[in-house]
């Protein structure tokens, strides 16, 4: 099924409802489709097999996404925050392509064989041109819908393939067609090159929910846009939520229109979500776990799960606040050991998923198995009731003297210490143990001593899980979508650090 059919269905059913942008002068569903058709006709004359996109969030993004879809050309949004050299290298990988580029980003690009650069303003003008809008488009058989370059925190970015069938399967199995009320509006602040930015467009359009884009996230602009546009739904990554709460508390705002706040894209610290539930008691919280390779969400912890967990005195129920909830009904999820054997409840292993939304495919290789199962490279376990707990990337697991140690568990314990604002735990090379456990700490109003933190961890976890190396820092390195840059941190910490006494 074609992603553009999602737009066609909405534009046929609710042509005059606002699809994009502000209440005052947004675009209707009819206009979104008309612009996508105009843009497609114009892009078709420019050749190229792929449509690359380099720019900020805004109404042009969905227009360009659907225009590419109409031509059945893969849409490849690029990360404008990359250094110029890396950005040009990614752009070259899209050839032969047409690249729609924000006018003021064009000077950053070097001429590249097989890549035709067009200015964003030229594309926008073409979308409004009646000659293009009325051009009859030939039907194009859908195949690859989106190419997303992974964030590359562990090496050269991989280009993940999402087919029209993966994305539409995700949309129609998780969203009710026109299930949104006319006054609903979603604030999209994740960047165009993030899977959540793409899935938000498709699910928003199919659900009939107006989408408001934040050009680029800052907590101040997020709060201001949410208030001004009476935003009812939004998705944030964990690092965004903490800073948004800071602004809300400082300004004494509660965002009364906000109904649902979903979060995902990384580990949510327990203290942050507990604070969010306190600061925004009228809001439904949803934790979503997913990967680029799975067309976004594969498991959700819903609002009722949040409330039940926070109200419970049963430790097994309460800890579910730190889970990602249960797998979506339209797919299968299993925990397996390193030999691929199925594991039972409370046994930690690798998370596998299977379903039509799962692509598990890159331009250089297909990693999904013949039977459709995709190994996520995420470690995790499920409790008896089927709640999934994600431990983090298996690459990040510390192997100390043959024991596998998951950094997430130690990070959670340290983050619960009142003197700790942020923490990362990782493995550093060690001649005796292979790896030793190291912790980077960002303190609150002067960090606690390493001895105190070590005793804190030892009292709650095994001694082998107690960090042996401590580093105290002003901040930890994150990329713009809130992913901790572990490789960078590891390299920095492999240098001279202050060993813990005792």
């Amino acid at each position: 099924m074609h992603t553009t059919l999602l737009l066609d269905m909405a534009a046929d059913a609710i042509p005059d409802r606002l699809a994009l942008g502000p209440r005052a002068d947004g675009l209707t569903f009819h206009e979104l489709r008309a612009r996508a058709r105009g843009g497609a006709a114009w892009l078709a004359e420019r050749g190229g097999d792929t449509v690359a996109f380099l720019g900020l969030n805004g109404p042009v993004l969905p227009v360009a996404l659907f225009a590419s879809g109409l031509l059945a050309k893969p849409f490849a949004p690029l990360n404008y925050r990359l250094p110029d050299a890396d950005l040009n290298r990614l752009l070259a990988r899209t050839a032969p392509s047409v690249a729609i580029v924000d006018d003021d980003m064009i000077p950053r690009l070097k001429a590249c064989a097989g890549v035709t650069v067009v200015a964003m303003t030229a594309f926008e003008a073409a979308c409004l041109d009646p000659a293009h809008r009325e051009t009859e488009l030939a039907y194009a058989e859908p195949d690859i819908a989106v190419l997303l370059f992974t964030s590359g925190t562990t090496g050269e970015p991989k280009a993940a393939i999402l087919r029209h069938g993966n994305l539409t399967s995700y949309v129609i199995s998780t969203v009710e067609f026109l299930g949104s009320d006319e006054d609903e509006a979603a604030l999209v602040s994740v960047p165009p090159y993030h899977i959540a930015g793409i899935s938000a467009l498709l699910t928003g359009v199919y659900g009939g929910r107006r989408i408001v884009h934040l050009e680029a996230f800052t907590p101040e602009t997020w709060v201001e846009a949410a208030a001004a546009e009476a935003i009812t739904h939004a998705m944030v990554v964990p690092t965004m939520l903490g800073t948004v709460l800071d602004i809300l508390e400082a300004r004494g705002l509660t965002l009364p229109a906000l109904k649902v706040l979903s979060y995902g894209g990384g580990r949510m610290p327990g203290p942050v979500i507990e604070r969010a539930l306190r600061v925004l008691p009228h809001v439904d919280f949803v934790n979503a776990y997913g990967l680029t390779e799975t067309s976004s969400t594969v498991a959700v912890l819903g609002p009722e799960d949040h409330r039940a967990a926070i109200a419970s005195t049963d430790a097994a129920v309460r800890r579910r606040l730190g889970s990602v909830g249960r797998p979506l009904p339209a797919l299968e999820l299993e925990i397996r050991d390193p030999d691929g054997r199925l594991l039972g409840p409370n046994q930690s292993g690798e998370i596998y998923v299977r379903g039509e939304q799962v692509s598990g495919e890159y331009t250089h290789k297909k990693v999904v198995q013949d039977d459709g199962w995709f190994a996520t490279n995420d470690g995790g376990w499920m409790d008896e009731a089927g709640y999934l707990f994600v431990e983090g990337r298996l690459d990040d697991v510390i192997v100390r003297g043959g024991e596998n140690i998951s950094p997430g568990e130690i990070e959670d314990v340290l983050r619960a210490h009142p003197g700790v604002a942020d923490v990362a735990v990782l493995g550093l090379p060690d001649d005796h143990w292979g790896e030793q456990v190291a912790a980077a700490i960002v303190g609150k109003d002067g960090a606690p001593a390493a001895e105190e933190l070590a005793a804190w961890v030892r009292a709650r976890l095994r001694s082998t899980k107690t960090p042996e190396v401590w580093a105290f820092r002003d901040a930890l390195p994150y990329n713009d979508t809130g992913k901790l840059l572990r490789r960078q941190l590891k390299a920095e910490m492999a240098g001279p650090t202050k060993p813990a006494a005792g």
């Binding site: 099924m1 074609h2 059919l5 066609d8 269905m9 046929d12 059913a13 859908p142 029209h164 069938g165 399967s169 129609i172 199995s173 998780t174 969203v175 009710e176 067609f177 026109l178 299930g179 979603a186 959540a196 899935s199 938000a200 699910t203 928003g204 199919y206 659900g207 739904h233 998705m235 649902v260 979903s262 995902g264 439904d284 949803v286 979503a288 997913g290 976004s296 969400t297 959700v300 819903g302 609002p303 979506l328 009904p329």
Partner: protein, 102 residues
């Protein structure tokens, strides 16, 4: 008719349009309003109407399935006729509402 996943079909007797989500395990005749669906590009005959026993209507955005063959379709446009396979009405799939996660 070869009901390939993603292929689009229209009713011969009303405004209903469908897209195939899951193909049948063996060839079947997919009908709307009692008449076999026609290719998406084909023109519907003027003045035709659904048979009374197949006129319960099809709702846009709803999925319909035939448990025997595994066939599942998504109605992309609503119409007065209802969907059937070999005369047997398709069941409507009422998906459990999921919390909004995007």
């Amino acid at each position: 008719m070869e009901l390939k996943p993603g292929s689009r079909w229209r009713s011969a007797v009303c405004s209903t349009e469908v897209v195939i989500v899951r193909p049948p395990s063996a060839p079947v005749s997919l009908e709307c309003g009692g008449q076999p669906l026609i290719a998406f590009a084909a023109e519907r005959v003027e003045g035709a109407a659904p048979a009374t026993e197949h006129a319960a209507g099809t709702a846009a955005g709803k999925r319909y399935f035939d448990a025997d063959s595994g066939l599942e379709v998504l109605a992309s446009k609503a119409g007065d006729g209802s969907l059937s396979v070999g005369g047997k009405a398709l069941a409507r799939k009422d998906a459990k509402a999921l919390p909004s996660s995007d």
